[in-house]
Symmetry: C2
Subunit: 436 residues, 2 copies
């Protein structure tokens, strides 16, 4: 039976999951593949820590270069994370004619174009299923079976930390900071949670989804990225009253050749399938012109689910190798030379419905002042909640708007926030009403 030799860079949590899966399912995988996968070499700076898996003598080494230059190795798995030395290692692997499988969303979001062009030049492939949605087979589905569709929308819940925090805030009415601290204790959030809670991790994943769905390179800096730190349990409470949930959504759309690429807290109706995605789960919703809406959900992180995605890519590449393919299916599903760079719409140019919360001095006439500014800015109000008055206190006024332009909203709120009766910066949350 033909052997496919695999090298692994990075023997941390995910790497350990990959090794366990290789070992546990070797026989099964060879029944599917008709070839034997061999994990020939693992490189990590730490070659002493016990990861709870038994390796043959000499498999674990501390020198990445000897994996990258080993002529026996067909596929290199990169699980180092971060930009460097991951980028340099991936380039070296490609230039040595090795296919690469990576879980590194940051690397691919920022350096994807460079790396994919190097892969192309060297006649090898990079697969990255594990970079988006953990074990959920979303990238393979876009590339493969949904490949006959023109996509108009891709959206998703792509960060388990944020979804865990928002779910707990929703179900238990707790405050952001209390839940974050709990999430850190439970291992659902990092000690420095910035990448997660500020939406950066989600934006990395969105960048990859947009490239695949719309056949465009994405300038990462142009993705509008807003995290969940300003969301209060009060906003969640009002969202629930209106029949909505607040989720950190990644939203990609293509309208008239222009891309919307944005990550922000989003109010979606309770009735939408994405509303039911709870805790650390992830989900991606795709809208194709023929398939209609399709949703995939599952574990978005964790060593086992991520290992599943990594092994899936290794199997896919191994099949191409054993099938004697002369060329590989392109990473993004498009022939690389056909990928263009579509313009990305500025956030101020989008239109949607909005939730707005004003914190106002509780005195007569405030609502009239607010309404006047909104009316002058072409913003019409769909519904409004003004809780019972507490004379002299500071109370929220909450509104849902009809469709409005973001620039109008921002301009109106600047004007309203300058009023004496407004006691803190007003908050707005974008709504999505077309992801049923």
């Amino acid at each position: 039976m033909k052997e496919i030799k695999v090298g692994l860079l990075g023997f941390g949590t995910i790497g350990t999951g990959v090794v366990r899966m290789f070992q546990q399912n070797t026989e099964l995988i060879s029944q599917r593949l008709g070839a034997k996968l061999v994990l020939a070499s693992i490189a990590d700076l730490d070659v002493t820590t016990d990861r709870g898996v038994v390796l043959d003598e000499g498999v674990l080494i501390n020198d990445a270069n000897s994996v990258l230059t080993n002529p026996d190795i067909d596929i290199v798995i990169e699980l180092i994370g971060g930009y460097e030395p991951a980028r340099t290692f991936v380039i070296k692997a490609l230039e040595h004619g090795k296919h690469v499988v990576t879980a590194n969303k940051a690397l691919m979001a920022i350096h994807g174009e460079e790396l994919l062009k190097i892969a192309d030049k060297n006649g090898v492939s990079i697969l990255l299923e594990a970079a988006v949605g953990g074990g959920i087979p979303v990238l393979a589905s876009i590339r493969e079976n949904l490949g006959g569709n023109e996509f108009s929308d891709v959206s998703g819940i792509l960060n388990g930390t944020c979804n865990y925090i928002l779910t707990r805030m929703t179900e238990e009415g707790e405050d952001f900071n209390a839940v974050l601290s709990d999430a850190q204790k439970l291992g659902y959030a990092e000690a420095d949670p910035t990448f997660d809670i500020e939406g950066i991790d989600t934006a990395h994943k969105l960048s990859i989804l947009i490239s695949m769905c719309f056949g465009t390179w994405v300038d990462f800096d142009k993705i509008y990225t807003e995290g969940i730190t300003r969301i209060t349990s009060l906003d969640i409470h009002y969202a629930r009253q209106f029949g909505y949930q607040i989720k950190l959504l990644a939203i990609g759309k293509k309208v008239d050749g222009v891309i919307e690429a944005r990550v922000h807290p989003t109010m979606i109706p309770d009735s939408y399938p994405l509303s039911d995605v709870k805790g650390v789960l992830n989900a991606v919703r795709l809208q194709g012109d023929f398939v209609g809406p399709v949703m995939l959900n599952g574990s978005g992180a964790g060593m086992d689910a991520t290992a599943s995605a990594v092994l899936g890519d290794v199997i896919s590449l191994s099949r191409s190798i054993t099938n004697g393919s002369q060329t590989m299916t392109p990473t993004l599903g498009y022939q690389t030379e056909k990928i263009i760079t579509l313009p990305i719409r500025e956030i101020t140019d989008i239109s949607c419905h909005y939730y707005i919360r004003f914190m106002v001095e509780d005195c007569p006439g405030v609502l009239a002042q607010i309404s006047t500014v909104l009316g002058e800015s072409n913003i019409s109000i769909r519904s409004m909640v003004q809780p019972e008055q507490q004379l002299g206190g500071c109370v929220p006024i909450v509104m849902l708007t009809h469709g409005a332009k973001e620039c109008d909203i921002q301009h109106a709120l600047d004007e309203i926030d300058a009023l004496d009766s407004i006691k803190e910066q007003s908050l707005f949350i974008r709504m999505e009403n077309d992801l049923a």
Copy 2:
């Protein structure tokens, strides 16, 4: 640019969808594929009906054989449906060295082993994504990116007609027959709905899922198949009271090398993702040892969604052809010679929790009689509802059991139904408590 020539057998609703998708997305598909798909020939007995699509002169013919023997054609799409002449045509296509894409679940459930072995012998492939779950890319996911997993469970809502009927019964409290008749008017149910409402269509799809997940041939007759015709709005009402929904589920499990393969109305907790799948939507839930639970949902039928799955398979085969593959990825994800025939558990040998509804004469002592029989049969009751008494009338007693053996349930109900105080045949519904 290389051309891949495709022939189509059957120009009905789905066939028309396929032709529309070919025409509408030709340019997009060639950007992805790096080759041009050409729909070279379409065969149907009816060559006169206007399907609303424009074809080049000579493309539509009434002779399937000239498609099957045309040496220019690489891939044949079979959309005739049914067993014959579909089976004969597929065999002929394979023997002429053509890959086959089919949406024919009945054909593949009954003759899959024969056809796949013929494909193997001729070095060509059969793909069948459209046969299960319409546009949902579930078979490709099992075969490709989830292929490193050992699966323990596959379950799903695979028939839009049944799910539509049960959803309407649940949301509106209507009776089965009224909703069925409505569904027929709306085109969601056939004039003869037997295949759908008796669960046969679902069982065909389950057979394919089980083969792919567990690497086994399935003797279709051994799949326990029970439809939804006995479900009343009364049962749905009680299910709701207990916090459950009733869905027609396809359930495949592998436990200790034995397969459970069953289709029947199933009570699942409201909190389960499958509970949220409403109307004509389909969903499949997979449980892999590393990926954990993954759920995919979308349109399970309709010309466009089905066309998406068909085109996805055509693209996948076309990629292998343009990549110069010497062999193809096997249809079921396993090398054909590695597929075995695992035993299928008799329905009487399964264990689960049960909902039971007795229709009893409303007089004292009946509950004691029932409880005695259940106790003697090792069936313990988890909760019970006995509505207010209407003296002299016939009232339901509804129970949920703890885990019990199906043979014990059947035996106990036979004994209970023989009691004078039991006024009609008791009904039980199997519950699933491990598909969260």
